[in-house]
């Protein structure tokens, strides 16, 4: 059942990706709408797959690579759908978001068979906040980067890709999502810090992931200062969003694979 629901979700995300591409290339708004419906439909089997794994291993989706990446994809799709419900003109940004969700599912399945018991240190309320906001941070940052990419395309040729809103609006959305990611990253760091204090009596240990998260938060600070103090917007801001995106993705997905850290288990996950 887990396999069926997981692959069902993956197929629907692949379909959504295809619909968005077709909609973008041929300028068919209706086709892009189907992409959104497919993404929405994919959330249900995906939720079932995550729930079944949760019931099987007895803990939330935060231990093995499959659980972490699959739930990250779920949160990404959910945040995209919620965001586009609030900001309808962002819908076409699905053309950047859904391929990422699809690829994440592909990465997740590479560790489908890995099932771990979690260490006792995971017995904390702060853990749920820490991990939940880490997922929300990653998802909102991908939406921000997708919006920045859409801005660059739209700015180059305003007549192209009619399903996308005006460049000025995309610039505003990029900034808005960057601010939301900044908040989510902050909550993630603080919740992790409270968790560490509860378990070890220290709130900061300069673990590589902690340090990388701090560097990312400061990088966001730099980007926001450029926007606020130097009134950077448009193209320069879009590129700065990619810089922040690079920092964020390195923190979430790269450092843990390269450097020994207490966070290794969530991606290496033996």
């Amino acid at each position: 059942m887990q396999t069926v629901t997981f692959w069902g979700a993956t197929t629907l995300y692949a379909l959504a990706t295809a619909f968005f591409f077709v909609g973008m290339v041929f300028g068919k708004k209706r086709t892009s709408d189907w992409g959104r419906y497919a993404a929405f439909a994919g959330l249900f089997p995906h939720a079932v797959a995550i729930g079944l794994r949760w019931a099987e291993v007895g803990h939330g989706p935060y231990s093995s690579r499959y659980e972490v990446i699959s739930s990250n994809a779920f949160v990404l799709v959910a945040i995209y759908l919620i965001a586009t419900q609030a900001y309808r003109q962002l819908r076409a940004v699905g053309v950047f978001v859904m391929p990422v969700a699809f690829l994440l599912m592909g990465w997740a399945v590479s560790a489908f068979g890995v099932k771990n018991e979690v260490p006792i240190i995971f017995k904390s309320y702060w853990l749920f906040l820490h991990i939940g906001f880490a997922k929300a941070f990653g998802a909102s940052l991908i939406v921000a980067a997708g919006s920045a990419a859409a801005y660059l395309i739209k700015r180059r040729d305003p007549e192209r890709l009619k399903s996308l809103p005006e460049a000025e609006r995309l610039d505003l959305y990029t900034y808005q999502f960057l601010l939301i990611s900044f908040l989510f990253l902050g909550v993630m760091i603080v919740a992790g810090s409270l968790w560490a204090h509860q378990s070890w009596g220290r709130y900061w240990g300069w673990d590589p992931i902690e340090t990388s998260a701090l560097a990312t938060w400061i990088a966001f600070g730099v980007v926001l200062h450029f926007r606020v103090l130097h009134r950077w917007s448009g193209k320069r801001m879009a590129w700065l969003t990619f810089v922040a995106f690079g920092f964020g993705m390195a923190t979430l997905y790269v450092v843990t694979l390269v450097v020994p850290t207490i966070h290794n288990s969530y991606l290496v996950g033996k």
Partner: protein, 414 residues
């Protein structure tokens, strides 16, 4: 000088690059090789206590303080409805157009002064106050921090302030000179307890007492998820564990010898007897010493001058001028303690910074309407979205014959 935006960016970039680079240093993680000599010379073996990093933090604090003071007066003026000189000007439209557009943008109020998410004007200020609080409180907290590791065997009692009990003490400059005066006894210890839903891990029942106040006595069960507080100190379960021998010697009384692993089935400890002669105690297990199902039969040996002798339970052996006995085998567990005065201030700083981030999510603005020859002249300040508003203003169907000429110096955010 310290209020300069360029200095703010320079300091932030410097700190960001330093932390980003340093987090990749392989020797910072535990159980990795020692840092090379050149890294030690540069202070990169303890990068976050090195002078360049501390100087950058100080600069960041001074710069943030200067900017925050400036920001307070600017935000207060906006809060009162005083628009900055660079506020966007939209002139020439009638009341209806102005009213409908500003209303669609979320501006609310009565009369000539309208606000959008007025509370959110304080977002940046609150965030900066939070950052200042974090830097200051972390500095204070680090100065007073006191922590260290210790080991206790089952049924052993240790007093943390006695010399030699606490190992690897990490104390700030203003921390108390000695570890906390607390007596800790390990009542029960399980190195491989399988709690439902979690991997096997340590769990201990501790009896903690204040020797100066006998009425202050606590018994608590801890694992690696949560500590046990006594006064201003909290005791936490650590990972290290092993076996201990209880030694009874006439000159020493009863003491616990904590053994270290030597291979999978043997543990040992080196001691010097009262005569100054080295003695090695060994414990051999039938199965693995870390086997959660049990170690099987255990045997104790004592080695002196290259001669190994297996001891029977209660059997005496030469130990200095007299004889000693091994009266028991137990487990020892590793623990840490921490005294973190000022931690509440650190968390208050975190809360302020997050509150600031939260407020910043809401786009805020101030609009002031003024009558000018029958048309409304509107001046608007928006934290973001000004470009979009101007674009929509120009595209509006009610655009008058003489369209508004947006202020060329208009901007988004102050």
């Amino acid at each position: 000088m310290f209020r300069s935006p360029r200095l703010a960016l320079f300091t932030l970039c410097l700190t960001m690059l330093y932390t980003a680079v340093v987090c990749w240093l392989p020797w910072l993680a535990s159980a990795t090789p020692a840092p090379p000599a050149w890294a030690v010379r540069l202070g990169l073996d303890h990068p976050f206590r090195s002078l360049p990093f501390l100087a950058a933090c100080l600069l960041l604090f001074v710069n943030t303080l200067a900017c925050t003071c400036d920001r307070f007066s600017r935000t207060l003026r906006l809060w009162r409805g005083e628009l900055p000189p660079f506020a966007m000007a939209l002139a020439g439209a009638g009341d209806r157009k102005t009213g409908s557009l500003l209303s669609a943008y979320g501006f609310r109020g009565h009369g000539a002064l309208l606000f959008k998410n007025r509370f959110a004007l304080w977002g940046g200020f609150v965030l900066h106050v939070g950052i200042l609080a974090i830097i200051l409180s972390v500095a204070l907290q680090q100065a007073f921090f006191d922590g260290g590791a210790f080991e206790i065997a089952e049924r052993e009692v240790v007093s943390l302030d006695r010399p030699g009990v606490v190992m690897g003490r990490d104390a700030g400059y203003f921390a108390r000179k000695t570890p906390p005066r607390i007596e800790v006894a390990l009542d029960l210890f399980d190195a491989n307890l399988h709690q439902p839903g979690y991997a096997p891990d340590r769990r201990s029942r501790l009896v903690v007492a204040d020797p100066d106040h006998p009425e202050r006595r606590l018994t608590g069960t801890i694992d690696r998820a949560r500590g046990l507080a006594m006064g201003d100190a909290t005791i936490y379960q650590a990972i290290p564990s092993g076996f201990a021998l209880t030694l009874e010697a006439p000159q020493l009384g009863t003491r616990s010898i904590h053994l270290r692993g030597k291979g999978d089935r043997t543990a040992f400890a080196d001691l010097t007897d009262p005569a100054g002669e080295p003695v090695r105690f060994l414990l051999d297990a039938e199965h693995s010493l870390s086997d959660p199902k049990g170690t099987g039969r255990l045997a104790v040996r004592v080695e002196r001058r290259g001669v190994s002798r297996t001891l029977l339970p209660g059997e005496s052996f030469q130990f200095g001028p007299g004889e000693a006995r091994i009266t028991g085998i137990a487990r020892w567990g590793g623990f840490t303690y921490a005294r973190t005065p000022g931690i509440g201030l650190v968390f208050a700083g975190f809360a302020l910074a997050l509150a600031g981030c939260f407020l910043m999510i809401f786009p805020a603005g101030v609009a002031r309407l003024a009558e000018n020859a029958g048309a409304t002249e509107t001046r608007i300040y928006l934290t973001r979205g000004a470009d979009l508003l101007r674009m929509e203003w120009n595209d509006h169907p009610e655009q008058p014959e003489n369209p508004a000429q947006p202020d060329s110096d208009s901007q988004e955010i102050a």
